[in-house]
Amino acid sequence: MSVTTQTDSSARAAEAALGALGVRCRVEARGNLAVVIPGPGDRSFEDAGARRAALAALRAQGFTHAAVELPDDREPATEFGPLAG
């Protein structure tokens, strides 16, 4: 499996894991760092419990670090499809 394919599959698996927690997002895999890009209006990560659950889910996918991207208000919001599962 190429590095790019492995990275993509890690990111998709992470998105599915977070989706199971009710978090609508995209995940960008940068090595051991997962950059979580929340869906429009998603405020899950303001809650400490939700952050802990998300971290555990991402760690289970092999990431050692996770960060939630802060939206750029100057750009149009990214459209997300329905949550998986």
Binding site: H65, A66, A67, V68, P71
Partner: protein, 293 residues
């Protein structure tokens, strides 16, 4: 149950209680008496500030020289603190420029980057010590620093630089406690490693990247971020590590907008992300698999 010497007996096996910090300070004073005059690598951080203050108090300013090594990796805020502490406590200070960025071994930013940085530092301080008649060269390494990934300590040991705080068992908590007791203002400052610690291993350390993370952190302090703070450089993305208790505040929409805007305007990062776990010492060691998660 404790006997009169403070030894705790548990299950029939005696275990020594750790010495109080004040006792360690008495031993430090005696140690300095035996090793002075001393030249100290002085960054203005919690440890070297405490060591320099004790040394001047014990040996007198004529027997102590604190040397600040300046380079683009040395935060301006820490330099200001170093000068302030030196002025307040009468610590003689000399500043020298260090050139670690000109060493390709350092600039490549391997996981033992600190070894090359400290090699450069001590290669400049040791001749200065000889020239000025200082018998012993010291650094502020403490006992807690002896665990974890610390390649800089190897460079110090190779050159005969001594670490009395580590030698005498001073923990970071001891140093903060004794600093507070002596009115040294660094007692409650967050830890403050060099700016290169914000750049992931394998990504070159450049003056531009160092300045970028420094401006980002300064901007966050200006909008009210307190406690431990690191802005880690991931190319187009700044990953912000905050103190755990601050995450709730800075992830709320209004504050998140302020935080993102501050970094974008000051440092030019296109993207800003907040680390979900918060500040972690040695975070980039874990990211690079140099240390366990």
């Amino acid at each position: 149950m404790h006997d009169h010497q403070g030894i705790c007996a548990a299950g029939g096996r005696a275990e020594a209680a750790p010495a109080p910090a004040a006792d360690k300070e008495l031993r430090l004073a005696a140690w300095l008496d035996a090793h002075g005059p001393v030249l100290i690598g002085f960054s203005g951080g919690v440890d070297s500030a405490y060591l320099a203050c004790i040394a001047v108090d014990r040996l007198g300013p004529e027997s102590v020289l604190a040397v600040i090594g300046r380079s683009p990796s040395y935060p301006a805020e820490q330099w200001e603190t170093a000068r302030r502490v030196a002025d307040q406590f009468g610590i003689p200070v000399v500043e020298i420029d260090t050139q670690e960025l000109h060493d390709p071994n350092y600039a490549a930013n391997p996981s033992n980057r600190c070894y090359f940085c400290k090699t450069e530092l001590w290669s400049r301080l040791l001749p200065l010590a000889r020239e000025r008649g200082f018998a012993t060269v010291l650094d502020g390494t403490n006992a807690d620093d002896l665990t974890g990934h610390r390649p800089g300590a190897a460079a110090a040991a190779e050159r005969g630089v001594l670490s009395p705080l580590a030698l005498l068992g001073f923990t970071k908590a001891d140093i903060r406690e004794r600093s507070r007791a002596r009115g040294i203002p660094t007692w409650e400052r967050p830890s403050s490693p060099c700016l290169a610690s914000r750049i992931p291993y394998g990504t070159a350390v450049t003056p531009e990247r160092l300045a970028q993370v420094e401006r980002a952190e300064q901007a966050l302090r200006a909008i009210g971020v307190r406690g431990d703070l690191r802005v880690r450089h991931h190319g187009d993305l700044a990953r912000v590590e905050l103190s755990g208790p601050d995450l709730d505040r800075w992830l709320a929409p209004a504050e998140a907008r302020r935080l993102r805007g501050a970094i974008r305007d000051a440092a030019g990062f296109d993207r800003v992300a907040v680390d979900l776990r918060g500040y972690r010492s040695g975070s980039l060691n874990v990211l690079a698999c140099v240390s366990a998660a």
